[in-house]
Symmetry: C2
Subunit: 140 residues, 2 copies
Amino acid sequence: MSRKMNKINEIILNLKEKGVKVTPQRVAIIDFLEKNKIHPTADEIYENVSKTFPSISLATIYNTLEKLEEIGAITKIKISDENKVNYEAILEPHHHFYCRKCKKIFDIDIKCSFSILKEVEGNKIEEIHGYFKGICKNCL
Amino acid sequence: MSRKMNKINEIILNLKEKGVKVTPQRVAIIDFLEKNKIHPTADEIYENVSKTFPSISLATIYNTLEKLEEIGAITKIKISDENKVNYEAILEPHHHFYCRKCKKIFDIDIKCSFSILKEVEGNKIEEIHGYFKGICKNCL
DNA sequence: ATTCCTGCAAAGCTTTTGCAGCGCG
DNA sequence: CGCGCTGCAAAAGCTTTGCAGGAAT
């Protein structure tokens, strides 16, 4: 069994533990997020999951994404120039690169010097978010 | 003449140079942003500038904010939990702290180890954005 | 005269909410 | 049976666009 399967099963187990029902639609959404690391928007998820679930509703997508975020299985990314929210299933802290030309989001594997901080100027830190904006290597 | 006045005049001069007309409404918006470092939303700017310009339209606020962003006088901040865009007139690179309780945004004066980077993993960096999320000292 | 700006209204988009029906335990 | 989920439709909320009138050069 691959690590990917383990990851998906982990999320499903987590859902069950939290008393959130595991429906086929939800599994399809989790599956899509895990297998396509493209930081999709709710609408992109909808378009794709619709292929296997033609009757699925956008409301169900949002509903599921909300549950998944609540249990900490996914993260919202708000860096797009267009007022859109992107989602990802990667939990390990990391940075992003946003290309203002192709509008794509890339994961950046770089060590942040702030990651050890627990507080800053008296404020309690729970999350650290960082991203670079510019032109990606494909667009250069 | 204070530094604040100089800053506002700088922006106005910049507008003129770029061929963007300097109207009383626009000056009022710039003035508000410069004198109230509260990272307001478009609507908050509207509410406040309305006090001096009762007839101003929200469309004019957005129009002006767009021009100001184009000439690089202001920056959009997209870190709010509520899908809102905040604005600030501070240009020097810095970080933010977002309190998930009071929803306020604070400026954080901290040195980022990435600020010297010009590229990362082959991608050309133009901007670096970082913020912390948690509970601010006032809410603790 | 031309060009740009204002302000009103309408439209656009993403996201949220309400609700009837369904399914699983 | 009860509870939660789905999906449709409508609503909500922020932002953008179209357009007529107006100001400035």
